[in-house]
């Protein structure tokens, strides 16, 4: 349940005399720690109030003021519902004052502490106000307009994008912040893994920042948050800072004004949006299984054939949405690679990005559809040394992982490439901001096994296939009639109609192994074999057939069940005729079916 509590704990350092008084009290009553003191007051916009009464002996300080001595530490136990609340920290302290450490006790719905916040004020020389309030989290705000003067400007959506790694937090503002904002801005963070005692320095990046080193970490450097994960579970919180210093906006046209605030010097490189390099992924399979024994060999080949779309140099390339035909040998003999090639990545120079942001990790998921077997692997994009005499390339390449199943048969390998740590699903963008779909993009490629009896194919995956089929002709017309079938001397000899005959034919036809179909507009197949029986009598009626058939599939099956309606024209040698080679020749027009397609890859099981 979403509850919008806005509670303000105001801790006011009202005056120097009061400070002096407090300092005096502190000396007289050292047990008067403010660690449990907090006044939680609802905001004007809410109807509920929660007061966390002080437990110390510092009674007079309850209402709206508290005195802090330099070095005083306070702690605020509070109930924290990550899904419905936002912690707001407002402060107005001069630079002489430093809030050196903040740690918050944050509890989940079950009142289990998932993080703690503690703050220490030091070097306080003037009256200061430090307020902490709860607010509805940004992830539940929608339809709220943001402005620089709106106290709730913090509703501006800011969320985590990218993959958190150990001891780093990646924070993104998915919408532009005015470059000279003096109002409240807000951010949230989340992560699957946090390091212990992680300190985030808060800074900002100039507008249109392109390079991480352009970000100024000092702008808000006086605020430092010390976040400690106390439990091994994801941390989600949203803070609002009230600050008077200008806040720059880091925008990036490519990322559609996605903005990132640097949280720590160590994560500065993460503050500028970087492309999702999955856009440049492709699967490259060497037709000759003896090639590309190393990534260096592959790199050399790709460098020699840049911008190749169909695959030069005896290899096939599949990019997002493509399907290529492969043999089981190509998979089992490691002839297929997952490649991140700078030649396919537009605009930004991949090498520079890799230098700036380091390698980018992807998960490669391979699934063989006919077996439900799958396997994952990790691909890392990094700069590779270029072969001598070639244009510098940036390539990440790994052998295609293969499920531990038989690589034969007639199946598809479905390959999905995605960021190893994709953005969290709960990411919320500022109203009007357009999330860049590339952040979440995955790339899908299919490899179509050609089957054990496949024949060589060209670089487009086209070739021929040879298979055995059972022709069942519903009706046939023979020119001239076979003398064996003549009932009397008045029977016409120029032609003869027969019904329901069957045989066995070997067929050869052009074949697109990627789509598993005949690519010709009129799907002709050339056939030779025997017609064996007349099913109406039934009677053994052998004849040799050689001809061509136009076959229109009626059953598309992943196995050998593929069948088609067939209209055929054959030269027939009727072996029942006397002297069949001299007198048995006929022209035979058939209409019927070609049942089964034995010993050949047939049709796909799914698209």
């Amino acid at each position: 349940m979403m509850r919008a509590w806005i509670l303000v704990m105001a801790l006011v350092l009202t005056s120097a005399p009061a400070l002096a008084q407090h300092q005096g009290n502190q000396g007289a009553a050292p047990e008067c720690r403010l660690g449990a003191i907090g006044v939680l007051v609802r905001s004007a916009s809410t109807q509920s109030i929660k007061v966390n009464a002080p437990t110390s002996a510092c009674g007079p300080l309850l209402s709206k003021a508290a005195y802090f001595a330099s070095g005083t530490t306070f702690a605020v136990p509070m109930t924290w519902t990550p899904a419905t609340s936002t912690i707001t920290l407002s402060r107005a302290v001069p630079k002489a004052t430093q809030l050196t450490t903040d740690s918050w006790d944050i509890q989940d719905d079950a009142f289990k502490t998932i993080a703690s916040v503690r703050a220490t004020l030091t070097d306080i020389t003037t009256d200061q106000t430090l307020s902490i309030r709860y607010a509805t989290p940004i992830i539940h705000h929608s339809g709220t307009s943001a402005s620089t003067t709106d106290p709730d400007y913090g509703k501006l959506g800011i969320a985590v994008v990218g993959a958190n790694v150990q001891n780093e937090a990646h924070i993104t503002l998915p919408g532009a912040i005015p470059s000279a904002s003096s109002g409240t801005f807000q951010w949230s963070f989340a992560g699957s893994t946090w390091g212990d005692s992680l300190v985030f320095d808060i800074g900002s990046c100039p507008k249109d920042t392109k390079r991480p080193d352009e970000c100024d970490l000092q702008t808000l450097d006086e605020l430092k948050f010390h976040v400690t994960e106390e439990h091994d579970k994801p941390l989600l919180a949203t803070f609002v800072l009230r600050e008077t210093v200008p806040v720059g906006a880091a925008t990036n046209e490519t990322m559609r004004q996605t903005i990132r605030l640097p949280l720590a010097a160590s994560s500065r490189r993460e503050t500028v949006p970087i492309p999702n390099f999955a856009a440049g992924v492709k699967i490259v399979c060497k037709n000759d299984t003896r090639g590309w024994v190393s990534a260096q060999d592959l790199l050399q080949d790709l460098a020699e054939h840049p911008k190749s779309t169909k695959g030069a140099g005896g290899h096939a390339i599949a990019r997002d949405g493509d399907t290529i035909a492969v043999t089981g040998d190509q998979i089992t003999l490691n002839s297929c690679w997952v490649v991140f090639d700078s030649a396919d990545l537009a605009a930004d120079n991949v090498s520079n990005n890799v230098d700036q942001f380091g390698p980018q990790a992807f998960t490669v998921h391979v699934h063989k559809d006919s077996t439900d077997a799958s396997k994952d692997a990790e691909a890392i994009l990094r700069a590779e040394p270029s072969p001598p005499g070639t244009t510098p390339q940036t390539v990440g390449a790994i052998h295609l992982p293969q499920p531990d199943v038989d690589s034969s048969g007639d199946a598809y390998y479905k390959i999905t490439i995605s960021l190893k740590n994709p953005p969290p699903a709960f990411i919320t963008f500022r109203d009007g901001a357009i999330p860049d779909s590339s952040l979440f993009a995955t790339r899908n490629v299919r490899l179509k096994l050609r089957g054990p009896f496949s024949w060589p194919i060209d670089q487009d995956g086209r070739g021929i296939r040879v298979f055995i089929t059972v022709p069942v002709n519903v009706t046939s017309v023979r020119f001239p009639a076979s003398s064996v079938d003549l009932k009397n001397s008045s029977s016409p000899t120029a032609f003869e109609a027969t019904t329901l005959t069957a045989g066995l034919l070997a067929a050869i036809e052009p074949w697109d192994y990627r789509a598993a179909r005949n690519p010709w507009p009129l799907p002709l197949r050339f056939m030779a074999g025997m017609q064996l029986v007349n099913l109406t009598t039934p009677q053994f009626a052998p004849s040799l057939l050689l001809g061509v058939t136009a076959a229109f599939p009626v059953i598309e099956s992943p196995s050998a069940l593929g069948s088609a309606i067939a209209i055929g024209l054959f030269w027939e040698t009727d072996l029942r005729e006397p002297l069949p080679l001299d007198h048995g020749g006929h022209l035979l027009l058939t209409l019927g079916f070609n049942f089964l397609s034995l010993l050949s890859p047939s049709t796909p099981s799914s698209k």
Binding site: V484, N488, S489, R576, P578, H583
Partner: protein, 141 residues
């Protein structure tokens, strides 16, 4: 699990070879029939006796061929052309000594079991030589 190219090609060649051999065996093992044979049942339907049904035709049981009256033949009959006459007897004169074993015009009964292979062969041979004489310009129509 791993199968090299050679094994795959071997399988392909083996399949084609098997198909070819099967075709040859099937073709070689098939005993051709004699085509149209009047007075005998239709191979596909024993209840149907193939007959000579055109005008004035009769079935000569010695050759299971149709014949028509011909004044230039000693027997008074000449075999018709293919496919309604034995290829070796077609267009030849019917031997005089086989004209008594015929199926009369307009009848569709079988020739029966009285055929004598020797008589049949002689009749065909005679008709064949007559046909060849005709081919050489010896008449016979």
């Amino acid at each position: 699990m791993v199968r090299g190219h050679l094994s795959a090609r071997t399988i392909k060649l083996a399949v084609l070879a098997m198909a070819g051999v099967a075709s040859l065996v099937a073709g070689g093992s098939c005993t051709p029939t004699e085509g149209f044979e009047c007075g005998r049942p239709l191979p596909s339907d024993d209840s149907v006796i193939r007959s000579c049904t055109r005008a004035h035709e009769l079935c000569v049981c010695a050759t299971n061929s149709c014949a028509v009256p011909a004044t230039d033949c000693d027997s008074g009959f000449r075999y018709v052309g293919e496919p309604f006459a034995n290829p070796d007897a077609a267009n030849g004169c019917v031997a005089p000594d086989v004209t008594q074993w015929v199926v009369a015009p307009g009848q569709t009964n079988a020739c029966g079991d009285t055929s004598d292979a020797a008589v049949q062969d002689a009749a065909i041979q005679e008709a064949s030589s007559d046909a060849c004489t005709n081919c050489d310009g010896g008449g016979g129509g």
